[in-house]
Symmetry: C2
Subunit: 503 residues, 2 copies
């Protein structure tokens, strides 16, 4: 009885924290979609306030007392039980939150908000000097934040662990080194072949038709518009505003088909993960995707493993052509398939193809660790970036706009802990997809018939419904029966691009 | 120094309350515009939480202590000073809020939310029996709420005072009786004349063209889209999400021009009031329009006194005709002017013309007082409504859908205190307009030239910029030099409709 009422008290408390965070998500969504320019100042203050109130409620001593009272009882239910996971994950959040003084959180938030506003103007102006002093402070604050979390092998393990529970610098380095050893020969082999022709992706693609086609595809995937919606924004994202309200955003270019389409499939992948979580976890810290990396595995799985596959387009190319009869006249499905999978080293991560994408991530991971460790000074970052792009990708950034200024992450948050999740997501996406293929029979035939139900059911059963109950490594092991490995990902890339480029 | 720091502490505290309320307004706006169906349950909980947190902060004893410490000092600055008004209005809010137990507030909110959900289905189904027990509870709760505020001459003065500071049942009754004595002969005289022809308002009016035309007009009025926006909704409203973010909503019918157009002008009137408040009042309880009645005076002024006037259409009819060349071919400005001012008794308040509108308000005011006083039972309301509509308007509601079920107010809030503001707004709109005409020279010529700057500047100087500093009666006296009176309103109606109907 005492445990039941303690659990109920804890859940009530956690639900108010969740409601405050979802309310903040509504404000964020509006800021990124419809808010008029005049709304910016008040909105920043409203968001800071909701964040502060949620943080106060999470770090209040009642939470610690209830967790202590409930732990032995919860553990006795078995590690896989909802209640054991709830106590375990809530304790992790609580301890992390209480370790960091509220005054530091406020200082960090104010600094990153100011830094973001300067970056917004500095990037188009190619003005690294404007952000340099702010980024220097961000590096110092990131080190300070790491220092609040002692007990890790590498001091910056703490920062990675915040985004990617259970992941370490050493583990990421090992995975990345293996992956690089596999990617470089593939990229070199592709470079020796004739360049793919992607001109069919440029032309006149009216925005309304792009939106209608994208929505048709993601409806077929299983994204539920009764519990979500899609709006336009500058930098697409997915957000969850409540149990039955998981929204995606996208952007369209009237002269380019691929940007809007693949961004739509990507965000729908994130959203189906959130829509697939067991409702029994609603209102608790378990009611979201487990880590950034696993989340990214789901967006990339639907965007790339499904959406850039040949079977997918055997089904969808005819409707696509019907939607854009002018621009795609004379293009056949094989030409289109080669175009959307063209491999070419480029300057900007978000424009990169599947094969070279991870080199962009690795250079960021190495450079941010070097800044944190002090082996690269912020003042030297632009030149270090250029040198690394030249040596890794064989192209030379003409400016910082498409160099060290291109990603928002370091200018709107801490340095350290974000980028590795993109590549972990790629790796896991292929491992999950291979396991699904093993379990589901002829997955290509299903996708080629426009049938996504079995795949989505598999993902829901193995991944989605568990929310944040398990860490990324646990999720991989439970879903695939194997530890996390780059094998399936390299096999996927070698097979697909071997066929595309006749290697 | 102590007063300065107390004032600063009070303002910081009030700003967090304001930010919480504006955050809730974002959630409300989203709920009424874009939220998918699945979002409803979580949204209701998020709104209740933000309301509760704001209420906790307003009723905390720090506020009382700071108000006590600041009152003599603030009063010494003069009653018209910002600081005296701030202390006066905050004390009113604080005392009202602390008089009502938090448990009662929660009970009332839960009840009205439940009642609203039942009404939403009961109105289209014409099912008064479904809402009857809920409305009976609402009457009881409304009496209970009134009882928390003793010291008024009539027990339900408290409820009116909540919406309309300084207004009483007796004062409203007197005004309404005088107004009725003036309206009834006018309506009878109009009835004796041939019916106006408003067929030109029905036809094919494409929604996009309606929206573009409405936005063009309200931009000319002075509504600032850089600090606002317009979206579609089921029941149009205006909302303020922050200092630079005052939004309006509207709805369109593709076969009817007047609903969307006049709703747009109406909401823009509310919004310009909010956009015109002095920024020095931001973050305090003074940073909004003073009462519901004064707010309504501004929406009705722009909608009716300006937007349904002949000079206005002398300027705007040509652009309107250009926007709808098909539907308005063969219609001239005089025919159009007569159509938009057609007087005809009707069943639904929101469809009523300017002249009969107030009879709708008066019957609601009398019926809700009768329910509160217990002289009419809720079970007898539908029949009492029908009898009153027959005797006042000469038409007979065929059902409760367009009878006692038609307005949301009693089903989504308390009984008592809301309806009188609509007629007070009409009365004040004409009084303000007459004073502006006196001060601005040839106002008709300005409006006929599409020039709204002088009128908006006058309203800003006399009304808008003061926010909530002064009550409605004070606002009227300061803006017009006279006490509130129905004279200008009856003169306006008699002159306008006398000319229109050749009386």
């Amino acid at each position: 009885m005492t445990h039941e009422s303690d659990l109920s008290a804890l859940k009530d408390h956690l639900r108010t924290i969740d409601d405050l965070r979802r309310a903040a998500s509504v404000l964020h969504w509006d800021q990124a979609t419809y808010m008029p320019p005049g709304g910016a100042a008040a909105r920043g203050r409203q968001l800071a306030l909701l964040g502060r109130v949620a943080h106060e409620r999470l770090t209040c001593s009642d939470v610690g007392r209830l967790l202590d009272a409930l732990t032995p009882w919860a553990e006795a239910q078995g590690a896989d039980s909802d209640v054991a996971a709830l106590i375990r994950v809530t304790r992790r959040d609580y301890e992390r939150a209480t370790r960091v003084p509220a005054a530091f959180v406020q200082r960090l938030n104010e600094h990153t908000a100011a830094s973001y506003h300067v970056w917004e103007r500095a990037r188009p102006a190619n003005d690294f000097a404007a952000v340099r002093p702010l980024l220097e402070t961000t590096v110092l604050l990131s080190r300070e934040l790491a220092a609040f979390h002692p007990g890790y092998a590498h001091p910056y393990d703490a920062l990675i662990d915040l985004a990617e529970d259970g992941m370490t610098v050493a583990a990421v380095r090992t995975l990345f080194a293996e992956l690089r050893a596999g990617l470089v020969p593939l990229i070199d082999a592709i470079r020796a072949r004739p360049e793919a022709d992607d001109r069919c992706l440029r032309g006149n693609f009216p925005e309304a038709a792009q939106q209608a086609f994208g929505e048709r595809v993601i409806r077929a995937f299983g994204y539920d518009f009764a519990r979500g919606r899609q709006d336009k924004t500058a930098h697409p994202f997915m957000t969850k505003l409540g149990r039955g309200d998981v929204r995606i955003t996208t952007r369209f270019r009237g002269d380019d088909l691929s940007d809007g389409l693949f961004s739509t499939l990507h965000e729908a992948g994130h959203a189906m993960y959130e829509q697939g979580i067991d409702d029994a976890l609603d209102g608790t810290p378990l009611f979201r995707g487990t880590t950034s990396g696993v989340h990214e595995s789901q967006s990339r799985l639907w965007e790339n493993l499904v959406g850039r596959s040949l079977p997918f387009w055997h089904h969808w190319f005819a409707p696509l052509k019907a939607a854009f009869p002018g621009a795609l006249a004379g293009t056949d499905v094989d030409t289109f398939y080669r175009a959307i999978n063209k491999v070419a080293p480029s300057l900007v991560r978000t424009d990169a193809d599947e094969v070279t994408y991870n080199l962009h991530v690795m250079l960021r991971f190495d450079l941010e660790l070097a800044m944190l460790e002090g082996t690269i000074k912020v003042a030297d970052l632009p030149e270090a970036w250029r040198a690394r792009v030249r040596s890794d990708l064989g192209v030379a950034p003409p400016d910082d706009r498409d160099g060290a200024l291109q990603d928002v992450h370091w200018y709107a948050g801490i340095v350290g802990g974000a980028f590795q999740s993109y590549t972990l997501g790629n790796i896991m996406s292929a491992q999950f997809f291979a396991a699904a293929r093993r379990d589901l029979g002829d997955l290509d035939a299903q996708i080629g018939a426009g049938e996504f139900g079995p795949l989505r059911a598999w993902l829901t059963e193995r991944i989605y419904r568990h929310g944040r109950k398990f860490t990324a490594p646990e999720t991989v092991r439970r879903a695939t029966g194997e530890p996390m490995s780059i094998g399936p990902y390299l096999a996927y890339l070698n097979t697909k691009y071997g066929a595309l480029y006749g290697l």
